[in-house]
C-alpha cells in the first residue's frame, strides 16, 4: 500500500497530536523536538516549549540541531540557568508533559539511553541520561516517540536510565502504544494505515498485548504534512554542511 507520506512523517504527525494547546512541555532533542514544534505550528500555538538548556517558551523557526542552538535562545520568552531549569521549573512539578526518546524501551515504558550490554563493560556506550531521569519522574505525563524495531523494543532494558511509571503513550513509525487502566504494561492501541499486526509483533521483542479496541491512525492531513515539510526544509537549509 502506498501513501503520499512517509512512515516517519506519520510518526511525527501522530506524536504531535498528543499535545494539547496550552500545555507546558519539557522537550528532548530529535524526534520529540520535531513533533512538539509541529504541534506548536498547527493545533497547539500556545504550547509552552521548554528545553533543558534553560530556554522557556521558545518558538524556533527551524529545528535546533543541539539543545542549546542560538535559535532557541533568540526566540524564547526567557532564558534561565541550568540549575534553575531543573530545580524551579522541572523538579518543582510545573511541567505537564515530558517528551522523550531513547535507544531502548521495555514493555513498562522504562527507557535506556546509557549503555547496551553491561554497565562496566558496555558493548555500546550511549550518551547517557542528560535530563531524562528527572523529566520522566517529575513531569505529570510522559510521551515517548521512537522508531519501532526489535533492537529498540526489548523485554528488559539493559540499563534503566529513566522510569516508565509516568509514560502514557508511545508513538512509533508503525503504531501507538498506551497503558490500559490497571496495567503496568503497554498495549498496542493503534496501527498506522497500511501496517499489519504481524509486522508490529515482529519488531517488538516481547509478547505484545493488543487492545480489544485496536484502531487505525488517522492519516496526516494536508495541513499537517505541509507545515511539517516546510519546517524540515527550513531546517535542512539552515544546517547545510
Amino acid at each position: 500500500m502506498s501513501h503520499d507520506y512517509t512512515t516517519d512523517e506519520m510518526m511525527t504527525v501522530v506524536a504531535a497530536r498528543q499535545l494539547r494547546d496550552g500545555q507546558v512541555v519539557f522537550v528532548g532533542i530529535g524526534l520529540p523536538s520535531e513533533a512538539a514544534n509541529l504541534a506548536r505550528l498547527t493545533h497547539a500555538p500556545n504550547a509552552v516549549l521548554i528545553y533543558e538548556s534553560g530556554t522557556i517558551g521558545t518558538r524556533p523557526e527551524v529545528l535546533p540541531l543541539s539543545i542549546g542552538d542560538p535559535e532557541l535562545a533568540e526566540t524564547a520568552d526567557m532564558v534561565v540557568s541550568v540549575p534553575e531549569i531543573f530545580a524551579y521549573w522541572l523538579q518543582s512539578g510545573r511541567i505537564d508533559v515530558g517528551f522523550l526518546s531513547a535507544a531502548q524501551i521495555d514493555s513498562c515504558g522504562n527507557l535506556n539511553s546509557t549503555v547496551i550490554g553491561d554497565y562496566d563493560r558496555p558493548r555500546v556506550r550511549l550518551p547517557g541520561a542528560g535530563g531524562a531521569p528527572e523529566i520522566a519522574s517529575a513531569a505529570r505525563q510522559v510521551i515517548v516517540t521512537l522508531r519501532h524495531s526489535a533492537r529498540a523494543f526489548v523485554p528488559k532494558v539493559d540499563f534503566c536510565t529513566s522510569t516508565g511509571t509516568r509514560v502514557s503513550v508511545v508513538i512509533t513509525d508503525l503504531g501507538v502504544l498506551k497503558r490500559e487502566p490497571s496495567s503496568r504494561e503497554l498495549y498496542l492501541v493503534a496501527l498506522h494505515p497500511g501496517v499489519d499486526l504481524d509486522q508490529v509483533r515482529e519488531q517488538t521483542g516481547w509478547d505484545l498485548k493488543v487492545s480489544d479496541h485496536l484502531t487505525v491512525s488517522e492519516p496526516p492531513s494536508a495541513e499537517e504534512l505541509g507545515v511539517l515539510r516546510l519546517l524540515l526544509e527550513r531546517t535542512a537549509a539552515a544546517h547545510a554542511v
Binding site: S53, G54, D69, V82, L126, G128, S137, C160
Partner: protein, 270 residues
Amino acid sequence: MAEFTTLHDAVADLVHDGDSVALEGFTHLIPFAAGHEIIRQERRDLTLIRLTPDLIYDQMIGMGCAARLVFSWGGNPGVGSLHRFRDAVENGYPAPLEIEEDSHAGMSVRYSAGASGLPFGVIRANTGSDLFKHNAVAPIVCPFTGEELAAVPALNPDVTVIHAQQADRKGHIGLWGITGVQREAVLAARRSLVTVEEVVDELRPLGPNHVKLPSWVVDAVAVVPGGTHPSYAMGYSTRDNAFYTRWDDISRERDRFTRWMEENVLEVAG
C-alpha cells in the same frame, strides 16, 4: 582580583597534571581555545568535569589528557556518538577512562552545593534510574517531613574554565544567553580562568539572561576572540552546526582524528 594575561600563561599557571578541571558551557560559550591550549601543553591524568562533554572533551580524551570523566550526557548533540569518548570507555584507548555519571539535575545540584560551600546537595530519589546504583548518590531523610531524598556530593573543581562575551577593564565578567552552570562552576572552583570575546568599558548584554561575575572571584582573564568556535558566543558568533556534523567523520577513526588534531590544534600557536 583577576589578572589579564595570555591564554598560554594562564593555562601554564592554573592547570596542572592530575587536577580536576571543569571547562563549562552548555552548548553555548564552550571554551574550546582553552581546551586546545591544555592539549598543546600536554596536561595528563586530569579529572574532566562537564555536564555535556561535547567535542572539546572528545578531543582532550582522544589526545590522552584525561584519566577520569564526571559527566551527565556524552554525545555529539543532534549528530550521534562522541567516538573518542566511546573508544576510551569501550576499548581503553588511548588510555582507560574512569567514569562518574549523573543526570543533569544531579550535576547542577552538585555544582550549586560546591558554590555554596556545602558538602552535598539534595535531589529527589524517586527517579527509578539505575544511575543511582553506579554513582555517589546516598539516601537521606528530610528531618522536617520524613521524605526520602537523595544526597549528591558537592563538586569543587581545582580549576574551572569558562568563556564569556565580555570583561570590563577591572576584570568583571559579563555573559548572557544560555549560561548553563558557569556561575556555579566558577564559584565552586579553587581557581578559575575566563576567556572573553572582548574587553569593554562597561558590561552591556546583547541578549537575555545577563550573568555577571565579579573580578575578585576570577584568577585570570585572557582575551580570545572566537575562542568558543565551533560553539558560539551569542551577540558575537553563531554555532557552527556544519562542523559538529563533520566531526562525526573526523573523529571516527583514530588516525584521522590524530592527523586532524596535529594540523588544527597542535601546530597552531595558542
